[in-house]
Subunit: 172 residues, 2 copies
Amino acid sequence: MQAANSSSDSSVDTAIDLEGFLPYRLSVLSNMVSSAIAGAYSERFGLTIPEWRIIAVLGRFPGLSAREVADKTAMDKVAVSRAVSRLRGAQLLHHATAPQDRRRSILSLSEKGRALLGQVAPLALDYEARLLDGFSVADRQRLAVALLKLQERAREIGPLQESQAPSSVRTE
Amino acid sequence: MQAANSSSDSSVDTAIDLEGFLPYRLSVLSNMVSSAIAGAYSERFGLTIPEWRIIAVLGRFPGLSAREVADKTAMDKVAVSRAVSRLRGAQLLHHATAPQDRRRSILSLSEKGRALLGQVAPLALDYEARLLDGFSVADRQRLAVALLKLQERAREIGPLQESQAPSSVRTE
DNA sequence: AATAAATAGTTGCAATTGCAACAATTATAG
DNA sequence: CTATAATTGTTGCAATTGCAACTATTTATT
């Protein structure tokens, strides 16, 4: 059919086994886990995952600023801002302005927020435990190490270096 | 990191170590990897991740219907429908109606689509290789097994309803 | 001190996504 | 055969998100 087929013979020399492709595996698994958890949280407590994350991190590190929360939770600062605003509206956390730097906020759980955390945390930990059911202690350790290592590698590699794009694409 | 100054909190013995919480680790890692890849694809080829996935799976399994693509890629059928529409617009894939069941579509890469796959696939595989750099063969094997096992567990646990589901949960 | 640069957080707007309703077609029941 | 149910794919609408511009405050430069 095709004349002068420059690089490849038929269709499948470049085929990717999507099922075995690590980024794909991670994405599928993460989406399954996240949506399972998100469903339970929203159904039972009216919480989104960003909201839940903020509650969790403030339960452990009270007094963080929005920026620090964003750093610790790996969330966008806009997402933090909006989730904090909702949580304040629901009176789940307190918000103050740092006296020595009035740009910064000081966030901490309210009594109500701590009570909610007390309900949500066991659920979360139970889900994790069920996920890991069947994993030995050594397996869990290896998994944790591997995930951290991958994260470190991903951080190093970063935005996937841009060479000069061959501009073979539609601009726009 | 630094030691938590947890001594003063009165009622939070339920604090979660977000950093060690598996669903959180998975989400952070998956987001890092996905956005790195998405950035490169969109920059170089004008592809979104859903579009790239469809191309990848059709490269390997030509002739699938939209439904089958959705199943294989773990994407929502709406996302598939829209991505297919864009890809058709860019003439990257062919679309036909199945003769024996005119509801079904028959999707396959166009010549242009195969050429694009030929460019994208090495990039994707290279990124994966760099991610896994430093992992022994045995480590990779263990990681793959662990991720599949987790996915299987997540599928079994499902939408996280009550902890113990009464014997018959199926609503079919 | 005055101006410029940097940082924290918010808001507007556009693009993406998810859910549900829908039309078209095929399968099943009576 | 007809009516009903189920399945495939698309579309409309609302909610979410991401990016950039913006305000307010602090730090750095001259």
